[in-house]
Symmetry: D2
Subunit: 415 residues, 4 copies
């Protein structure tokens, strides 16, 4: 038990400090803004993840704990109706105080009290809640990277977040099809260790024969779609997708820019740079992934197919490109069939509850279940996901028009 306490305390501090590390290259100005509703100010992420521990762990459980500032519940609650009133989401980018310094003090204060709490009157029954807080913080680490990329990438100066040398890869993994036989398979989380409620219950599913691609669609392949007039032909697009294309004048993935007739893209590393044609295409919406697959005469895998394929072929490869690489961009496939890292993969499945799904009681019950409509499931993690955060059963979800995250395409087909 002592060992466990040490473990959770260390893990707590490791996760918490990683969040701050992600923000290190930022200027104070970068912490404040919210250019679109989906992007939150980095300062808000820093406060909100801290508020989670203060609100759900310290205040109800740590005797004698003094709230850092009674206004912070209002400022840093995200969407927990159970937790009271909050700044409306679109106003997050208008809030300049508390400043970055005060938010960092808030983090230090809560960290110190968490450390104290974990080392003294910690109750094992809280372990899953604390682990939820850490997983939650890891999710926000990933969102932070998307949001920082959006904030800097939409700036007319295209400032780089980092300027590291980029390993020039010349690998070109040929497309191969991995086959799965029809039958009953079992999916969903069924293990010890942490998992989200939406990965339950563990259940049977029937799959038909199908094949899934051994790698993600590359920038080169996607550019072929663009050059074949993919964005101009309604036949490839869902009806709402076509409206979205027209209304927003979409003609390329997010963060792509035509410079002197050549497509470039904004990367956190290096700013505006030439596109590596062998790397996976990313920053595309479900609408685009679906249109691309239709244009190819293929389709996206369902999340059931994806999970079964992952369990059969993928397993999380330790060479996969997760956030630990620190480069925050997809890289060309290393030919090892990994189904993880680089980009979240849009599936053909709408985000709905599994059989036997029950949302937990209390505020944490608002974590996943209430979003189960009008969104699509993505699988596999990305170059902005911490390696120890992802599992084959992990269900991510976004609205079908969104694309500021690292999203990509893995193709499938009937056989």
């Amino acid at each position: 038990m002592i060992a466990d306490k040490i473990h959770i305390s260390e893990r707590f501090l490791a996760v918490r400090s990683q969040t701050e590390k992600i923000c290190e290259p930022l200027k104070i100005e970068d912490y404040v803004v919210q250019p679109i509703v989906d992007v939150s100010p980095p300062k808000w992420h820093l406060g909100h993840t801290t508020w989670f521990f203060e609100t759900f762990v310290l205040k109800p459980n740590h005797k004698g704990y003094q709230e850092f500032d009674s206004n912070y519940n209002y400022l840093f609650n995200s969407y927990y109706e159970s937790a009271g009133a909050r700044v409306i989401r679109t106003d997050r980018g208008n809030i300049t105080r508390p400043g970055v310094e005060e938010v960092m003090q808030y983090r230090a204060y809560v960290n110190e009290h968490m450390r104290e709490f974990l080392n003294t009157n910690y109750d094992e029954r809280l372990e899953s809640l604390i682990e939820l807080g850490l997983q939650h913080e890891q999710q926000h680490q990933e969102l932070l990277i998307y949001d920082i990329k959006y904030i800097l990438g939409k700036n007319p100066l295209f400032p780089a977040y980092s300027n590291n040398p980029r390993a020039e890869s010349s690998d070109k993994t040929p497309l191969e099809w991995l086959e799965i036989k029809e039958g009953i398979y079992e999916i969903g989380y069924n293990d010890a260790g942490f998992s989200f409620d939406n990965e339950h219950g563990y259940h049977k599913t029937y799959l038909n024969d199908f094949a899934i691609a051994n790698r993600l669609v590359t920038n080169r392949e996607y550019l072929e779609f663009m050059e074949a007039g993919g964005y101009e032909n309604f036949r490839h697009w869902l009806s709402e997708a076509w409206e979205w294309v027209k209304e927003n004048e979409i003609e390329a993935p997010e963060h792509w820019h035509r410079v002197d007739g050549q497509w470039h893209h904004y990367n956190l590393n290096g700013g505006l740079t030439a596109i590596n044609m062998d790397a996976p295409v990313t920053h595309i919406s479900f609408f685009e992934a679906d249109a691309f697959a239709k244009w190819k005469g293929l389709r996206l895998p369902t999340e059931q197919e994806w999970e079964v394929a992952c369990l059969n072929f993928g397993l999380i490869d330790s060479n996969s490109n997760f956030s630990e690489s620190g480069q925050y961009e997809p890289v060309p496939s290393q030919n090892n069939n990994q189904l993880n890292g680089d980009c979240w993969e849009w599936t053909a499945s709408a985000y709905r509850p599994y059989p036997y799904y029950k949302a937990p009681e209390g505020a944490v019950g608002e974590y996943n279940g209430k979003f189960m409509v009008n969104q699509m499931v993505l699988r596999g993690g990305s170059c902005a996901t911490p390696r120890d955060h992802i599992r084959p059963t992990y269900r991510n979800f976004f609205h079908p028009h969104l694309r500021w995250m690292f999203s990509g395409i893995r193709l499938a087909k009937d056989i």
Copy 2:
């Protein structure tokens, strides 16, 4: 073959005249307006269903056919990108010419040429296209009824569409649970006769043990939810549903009005009337159906569960309440487990393609497939559905916030 020609010609005229019969009680003024984007002017329905036959059957196949008016393609195309430019949907209610008289002349002209075509140079290979046109017209008959109800029901005078005596039913079917055992089941259309592309392919699915209610949720039961504060408690609602409730100040089903402290509802028959508490609740959105089920500690069935249950218990009951009854309102259950008629039943399933689904080539390929995102499946037909239009495999679909149609709730649960 001669027999078939006669048959299709008769069926053609029968379906076509039914559309006009639905409009008979209208005043000319009622044919013109579009109070919300989802409602089309009755005049437009009359023209659009005719345009379908002119555009897809007569013009390409009936030698020497002279188009009635070259402007009508622009006026009466709904959403077929393949068929050229069209009046934008929100403008349909601003178009006063052609008037009802001209549209009726257009119908007569196309009917006459279709009759001629079906009796002379008719090619059997067109049968499925013509049948599609008739099924399409039946769908618009149903929409016509919804739209007429909306146009009259939102009028401050609450004019009645009909004033027929209403059979006072005192039947109260007790709620019973019909059970299905876990296992592999086959669903989807697998028969001769007409079906839509979205009912294919016929495929296996794995179901867990479950039970489904023998009847729809009644107005009485729904009122309990309302009186228990159902519309004020975020805990029952999906996040987007809760936003919808707040933004639109929803507090009761569509067409409900509080008169002197008592809930009434607008019915086509009789106008504003007291609510029959034993009749199924209707005009509710998926958001409300889902919230009600959660409040009950139950859930909606998936479409797979629904279809298997229907095949096991329901079969289309000849006593079910379809449009042939002419009363266009749900009635108390007659205790026969029918899963058809009265109200379309919201399922827990998002509208996505079945395994092996392929959209047909050409303009008719735009019929179903392009709507397969952000919508939910409904099953079973309603009091506005023609009896010969419905099948156990029939997949209807609407956005989760819509409720101007006859939609209702059948509950399910794990066992």
Copy 3:
């Protein structure tokens, strides 16, 4: 007094029947719709003008008068906060009942009771109120013509309202400048007879030397502006005007259409027709009038200048083109310096109260004063104005972006 009673009774019926005459060429369908917020359904105009007499004259003054239908106050109130709740303006085009027939019965009923009232217990003190009702109805006659033109002119079939032979005029009045000397002038209404509150008080104003054009700007002159790139050069435009041009992709006056490379316009008489280049340009916004004048190096007259010029040169010419001509379109100038008829003339003046202005007590106090912000004054009447409705002191007003009415340009300059 008897004479007066007869006079007002006759005048009442004459004005009322003129409203109905304007609607005669309409189909029932045309009476119902509201394609933009500024356009009201003709059926609504018919009801609203009747409601004015029922609400302000009959109900408070005619003993024993029975309201026609208690719902009509809600249906036909326009903007009188004092008169209770009302259909929100944007919903007027969704109201199909009462139908045209019932509204005509409502008119007949109120007419009959007004006739009875005027012939029996009529109180002279009500004369100005009744006259206000008649002037109000004449204003709605003019709006009816604009609205009918918009409803038919935006229909893809461009149906004609009338098909009368059009006198081909070859008159080309040369532009001349009428000069006024600087000094103190008196303006505003100062006579017996009817006038609106906004024409008061009669007051002194100081004018500098100026000159005003003897005729309106013609289509030929306006086309020169268009062909000189007037709509593409921000320099001519007010800032809000330029935003309006860009956002709405304005490139010609309202109701102009390019057919096979030639500009045509929709006219009530004849439908889509070639443009008479010698006729005054019409259906332009203040934004366009102001931009045209700036492009010419000239300006619009202030309303004070206009009124003084009118009193000096114009007087209402009995040959001017008012609604009695029944042709409802501007015609080439007959070289007589008339400042009335054809088109309302945008002035440089914002619509604000005159010195000493006081709004009347009661509901009629809502008639003019509450609109005195963000609108511009127009003067002179149009081809849709009844001749006996206009005066040199008459102040019309519209928002600067509107142009569905007969509006035009008279130029002025400093000398």
Copy 4:
């Protein structure tokens, strides 16, 4: 001439450093955001005022001048169509780079080159352009104060900008009426020294007898209006004003908050504080000023009346409360009839060109003239206006619904 060069060089640096002084109390975070479209980020003001000198003075006139950064034209152009593309106004708050430090370097760089230019190859013919740049910067100093107040005052923490002791005034100036006789008066700028184009031409105007209040309306008087139900009674309001009140749920001036049942307001000095009832009411829209005056049975003065009264009674009083006081809030009147300082005073006049008005050629011609529609004139300067920036002829203008600036009410009446 040497003397003049020294003078303009000193004045240049004095004005420029005042801008920076205003920003001194800010945190870096405060410089970045744009909570509403009317508020610009302080960082943007700092850059934009500098861009003015770089673009209009240095680049065209200072030989060998190297642009600081070629991206800055795009970033810091406000609305000059002549000066090329620019960040759309609503996006200003999403631009984090250049940061405050770089913008300050930009200021220093341009200051240094301006100093060099003014001391060497300066051409007297540029004097009026440079003075325009300085007046422009003073206008932005005032906007900076409004915007900082909005950014801090809408923050849930209500941080104070300063915490200086506040002189408790117990002065209560009784309301007196200053009378002006009817006659011809001359207004507009007619002097040496700087003035804006919109103050020209100097011209005659006719005024009737009127009286104007000797002081602004106080918070106490305004609260009486509120407590008399002023915000709930449509009769006091212009039609568009009433819509604005309802839609925005307006019930008090901007920056007022009810704390424990007592009205407080946010002040730059001290944050959320009790209201000094003797101080002038401020942060009200024209709509509110007009409604208040109507409720009193009085009216606002026209700008002609105001200017004549100012020339007769007011003159700019050296005791008036301008920005030099550094307290940035209106104070109780010192009983000296001053018509300047404290609050801009809404007049009854729409902002339109004076007789003989001509916009200058070139980009500076976009300064005033293009805004002359849909705005109202305000007079007199405020507690955020530099004393040497204001004149009796100075015409400020805002849209009638705006109120984030220091705006107030001076009453007038006919006599």
